[in-house]
């Protein structure tokens, strides 16, 4: 027993299920492909009769109520890190083989103790919603085959007997090879190895020889080991949960110091921080902070985090906290000659974070005209750190009177004659209309419940002043005055 493989069958499906509590106990299928080509890639045990490769439509007919989901890369990364962490409890020599699979070099370990440990790890992982299977054998390949058959742990002691009945797919033939072998009636590893290796090589080439060797469990390879502390993330569970934010400050500073050190050691800086408060009610409070400038300055990070935490109110006690730093290479940029950058971007973003904490994230930003015909519609964009020079003068420079908008617009009652405004009444503006220009009409969003239509006029009052008035669903209003 020199190697072990921790493998999670239908890893993508399990990763998804453990990330989404709503899927618990549901008939779920992971689908791949679009439209009519959509096929089931994996299905939960609750989805009876649904097998991989089945058309999604057929799955729907065979299992009414089945929930279709697509792969969630983020959930898979999270689950894989968990698996990797478990693998490191077996040995410090771990290979991250692929998503949902780790290979562990056990050479030198006590076999009996290791087997017991493997069973423990399998149980712990199952408890986290990741039902891993662990196989062990003389080679990484044998261990991986064993993992695919394990329930949940299998140690291969007699490779020949073990390999013979295994399906050919275990040796991972290329599609073309699989097609040929299917034609030959070869369905198991034993079936393939029963053929003369040289004859297989003559027909299927060197790739065929490699396949034959894989089927015989003969393939040896060098593990590509991974280091344990390169994830730049930290997490803590509180037992019992905490009721105030204060304990978090200390813990976060310790996290920040460690993560910043790790980043620096690897030649990285952080470009963003992600803070997650795991709450007792199984919800969480998540915030991402894009740093003004990528860096590993702990004080800068803490200013951003503290500014935010100072305003956080949660519905439930905090059961855990997670901080993740996204690594990036140190910035190498040269500002443009005419770029006007911020003198102190850190303070700027710190202030923005404080304001956002008070008024809400969706109410901070630089207003920009929205791509719509709706008058005065705008969106808030992320503030720019640098003011870029204008490109060129427009072909048609703005002309005509400037509209000074009243914010909010003034409600008004409008008396019309033959469809044209003749008098404004009520509110803050009153008087006869001497001249009216319009109407200008715009409408949009007809496909939404909030469909809108606006009719705009420009009116000159007998008492003086030219105003822009508009008629909307809510009635008439004075939008502003024209210079």
């Amino acid at each position: 027993m020199s190697y072990a493989v921790l493998s999670v069958p239908d890893f993508a499906l399990h990763a998804l299920r453990r990330s989404d509590p709503e899927l618990c106990g549901q008939a779920v299928a992971l689908v791949a492909g679009e439209g009519r080509k959509a096929r089931v890639a994996a299905a939960s045990p609750e989805a009876r009769g649904i097998v991989p490769g089945l058309a999604a439509a057929l799955a729907m007919s065979r299992c009414p109520g089945i929930v279709f989901r697509r792969r969630d890369p983020a959930a898979e990364v999270e689950a894989h890190r968990l698996l990797l962490g478990a693998a490191f409890t077996l040995s410090p020599r771990v290979e991250s083989t692929c998503g949902g699979c780790c290979t562990v070099d056990l050479r030198g370990a006590d076999p009996a103790r290791t087997e017991a440990l493997m069973r423990l790890v399998a149980v712990e992982l199952a408890g986290t919603g990741l039902p891993a299977r662990i196989g062990a054998g003389a080679t990484p390949l044998l261990a991986s085959y064993a993992a695919r058959c394990a329930e949940p742990v299998l140690v291969v002691r007699d490779p020949r007997d073990f390999l013979a009945p295994l399906p050919l797919a275990f040796a991972d033939p290329a599609p073309a090879q699989a097609e040929i072998l299917r034609g030959w009636g070869i369905a198991t590893l034993g079936g393939l190895t029963a053929l003369p290796k040289a004859e297989v090589g003559r027909r299927l080439g060197s790739e065929g020889v490699l396949l034959w060797e894989r089927a015989a469990g003969e393939t040896l390879r060098v593990l590509r080991l991974v280091e344990p502390a390169r994830s730049f993330a930290a997490e803590w569970a509180y037992e019992p949960p905490v009721e105030s934010i204060e304990p978090l400050f200390f813990k976060l500073r310790r996290f920040a110091e460690r993560v910043a050190l790790e980043l620096r050691g690897a030649g990285f800086v952080a470009e963003k921080l992600s803070l997650t408060l795991l709450l007792e009610d199984e919800t969480d409070h998540r915030r991402e902070f894009r740093l003004p400038e990528p860096g590993a300055d702990v004080e800068g990070w803490m200013r951003v985090l503290n500014a935010h935490l100072g305003t956080v109110r949660t519905e439930a006690r905090v059961a855990g906290v997670r901080l993740v730093a996204a690594p990036a290479r140190p910035p190498e940029k040269q500002d443009g000659l005419f770029d006007a950058g911020l003198r102190d971007p850190a303070s700027f973003w710190e202030n923005i974070a404080r304001i956002a904490a008070i008024v809400g994230d969706d109410r901070v930003g630089t207003p920009a005209l929205a791509d719509t015909h709706r008058p005065d519609a705008f969106v808030l964009e992320r503030p720019s750190e640098a003011v870029t020079p204008s490109v060129e003068a427009p072909v048609h420079p703005p002309c005509g009177p400037t509209l000074r908008r009243f914010r909010p617009p003034w409600p008004v009652r409008v008396v019309c004659d033959a469809g044209s405004p003749c008098r404004l009444e009520g509110g803050r503006l009153e008087g006869d209309v001497r001249a009216a220009l319009g109407p200008w009409r715009s409408a949009g969003d007809w496909w939404k419940p909030q469909a809108w239509a606006v009719e705009t006029w420009q009116v000159e009052l007998a008492g003086g002043g030219v105003y822009q008035i508009a008629c909307m669903d809510a009635g008439w209003c004075v939008e502003g005055i024209l210079d």
Binding site: W184, L195, H396, R441, S442, A443, G444, W446, W447
Partner: protein, 1033 residues
Amino acid sequence: MPFVELHARSAFSFLRAGSLPEALVAEAARLGMPALALCDRDGVYGAVRLHVSGREAGVRALVGCEITMEDGSVVPVLVATRAGYRGLCSLLTTAHLRAEKGEGRVAWRELAEACGGLVALTGDEEGPLRRAWLERGPAAAAEAGARLAGIFGRDNLHVEIQRHRVAGEERWNRFLVDWARAGRLPLLATNGVLHATPECCGVLDVFTCLRHRTTLDAAGRRLAPNRERHLKDQRAMEELFRDLPEAIANTGKLAERLEFTLANLGYRFPDHPVPAGESQDSFLRKMTYFGAQQRYGSVVGEVRRQLERELALIARLGFSGYFLIVWDLCAFARERGSLVQGRGSAANSAVCYALGITAVDPIESKLLFERFLSEGRTDWPDIDLDLPSGERREELIQEVYRRYGRRGAAMTANVITYRGRSTLREVGKVLGFPDDTLDRFSNLFHGGDLPQTLELEEQLRMAGVSDAHPRLRALVDTCRRVRGLPRHLGQHSGGMVLSSGDLDQLVPLENARMPGRSVLQWDKSDIEDMGLLKVDLLGLGMMAALQDAVEICAQRGQPVDLARLPKDDPAVFRMMQEADTVGVFQVESRAQMSTLPRMKPQNFYDLAVEVAIIRPGPIQGDAVNPYLKRRAGEEPVTYPDERARPILERTLGVVLFQEQILRLAMELGGFSASEADELRRAIGFTRSQERLDRMKARLTVAFRENGVSEPAVEYLIKSLASFALYGFPESHAISFALIAYSSAWLKVNRAAAFYASLLNCQPMGFYSPASLVQDGRRHGITFLPVCVQSSDGKCRVDSDTTVRLGLATVRGMRAPALQSMLAARAERPFASLADFLRRTRFSAAERRVLAGAGALNGLADHRRSALWRVEAFQGGDDLFRQAPEAGEEALSPLERMTLLERLQADYRHLSLTAGAHPMRLARPMLADVRTAGELGGLRAGERVRICGSVITRQRPGTAKGFCFITLEDETGLANAIVRPRLFEEARLVINLEPALVITGRLQNEKGVIHVMAEEIAAMPDLGLPAQASHDFH
């Protein structure tokens, strides 16, 4: 001067406007507009529809077009004279024919050369002036305007001004007014119409999104700013242009100047070259009499009288050249050994019969000549030719191009409209519905659905769209508005329009997607409305199969002359009475097979009735059951009116054919021949219900005035309405019956050739090759497997009961490699597998497929042995090719395939098996399941379970939501009927599962056996190969 909208676009601008031309006309008429100009993008696609509907609504339809220039700007032009129209069509043809479909651009130089008779507008937001103004300012716009003025001259350029109530537009308009006044150019007010009414604006937004491949949420300012670009009446336009009254007045003046309309197209059909001293009429007479002597022996009595009558009418109407041209095309086809037969109403003509265009003797069959041609007829009569599909038909099409030139002939267009599932999918995407919802909808309503059985809202609810979804209403409304609008232009299945060399000056031509083909911008109905002549060169799979069968029979020394088959072979009719008609033309469908045992055809005319009766027309007209009951003597033969007796006698008092409707109109309604012709057009013209309604009203009055009783009027008018849904002319039914009879005769008398030819001409017909082979086996035919030593490329008949499957049946074979192998084998047979591998040029994949399909079994012990050995072959240059040595050949470590494995390999590589049906293997595992063959011996009402591969699923529109399923097992076919409620419950299972287990009550009515389904489930997965199903709606 009245205001006339001179810049309207229809949905024929393809995704640039949202209303049909008919809708624009209707709105223009409602608004009291005297004329309307349609300027669709790069074509006159909608011009005929505008013209026809305008003629009916009293709105003068003016022709225009928006021309896309080489720089991307768009110049609207209006046609003033016929010369202008011809120049415009020619210009557009030139642009379209040199570019990919939809990419035609016109050079400024070309526009200058072709602008005579055209009036240009400066255009709207895509016009050259506006583009220049936006990009480079007023000076550039003035320069662009000067170029237009230089091309068209001051008299033929109008400065187009539009007001859409959009803030800021006056700045541009001020520039236009100033520039027009400075250059003394007339101003012209238009509304740049993009939709008929404000309500259609949503469709325009959806189209905009489809064009830009975006969604409504992301489209931003690409959407319409408001709903103002609809047709507006004079008052509204005068109000908008109060300050520019001349811009309104100029619209009326310009409309008066535009003298050209499509009423005056100037089409001339080409003459047929005739020998010196002969006219078209005299030559036609000569050829007709020559042909008649061949057909009838001597031309006397009734034959002579009929020919004289027809020839006189043809000459009077000026159609002689047309008949000669079609005759010549038939002669060309026959010279090349191709079968050809006229279908449709041409079979009513003795001249067509004499010329060999049709195969039905109208005198013997007592067919109504007026259905084909009548005194009052101004349009060209239809002569449709059925040809063997494939190369032979293409050869004739290319011959037509060769004779009349690339600009003298073109295929008719087929307007593909938004409908069904794809409409919802496209609109749903634009509205931001998630893909999985749309996928679910597509899967649920597999192959489309019937709106009358399930409302769209209900369909959407089943697909997971909640009733409370905020966009549900918008989706449903938009789908309804979009349905029926043109999506793109396709190609008609065979209609070719011919002219005397100048077709491109009558209608623009474009490249079809298919190489070597060009299409014109009008569809079948447009062409008929414009009086252009169309010859349908239709490819018929069964014609190809008949041709193949005849050739096979001739090669075997058992020649068959289809024209001289005895029409009274009792074995043929016995086979039909037993509904044993798999593979027989026209009577092989489930519905036909369900009718045959009741109908019990006993002669050729019965077969024609059978062909005609299972159609939506007779079914909707409730003609089927009365006819069958009267035929069986279960109800008395009655007539709606005693005067109808001679007309309806042959069909037992029931109206089954279009000719009968026309005769009844003439005899009982006093219609003249030309009125009857008008009625014929109304029946055939599916586009306008209004037109049919008018005709129904006229005929009702006429019947009443002639003393027809009220119940009879009601019955006759109902029959008329149902024929508009699709009914056959008697002549067409007889023409099809000829083909049906020929195929049935072959099935009975030359079964091996029949099945071989059907397999050689796939895809065609109702049944898959696998089903045809199984049917053949049930008829005692042995199908020998494909074999490189014995098989030809096509299926071959080895004996009266043996068919050798052809190598072309094997999937994935390249024709050149196959031909090369056949040539090598012809030199000398293959001595061994090594010899075969050395002397052939198959790819590794092809060798593998041949081995897997068992085609190499003659050179190896078994399939696996062959598979093992072909893999060892190293292909490449001849000198270095290595094949297994002789000593090695016997060595294969692989085991033989099991029966199931062989079956799977057969279906994988051939889509069929020459051996037993897959269900035979499943039978031991299916307890309590009856075979199809057993059903006939069971009592009606018994609860049975049947199981098999689904070979057809049908939900015809006439079936009120019922679904019909045909299952195939090793003993034959079993039919099941599914009630609408059960269908909805098991919709996905029925639509998607390849094999079903159906439980229900047996129905056996006069030999017509069905299982009325009560439970439906997927067949357990036993590893059997899935068969293809043909699904129809």
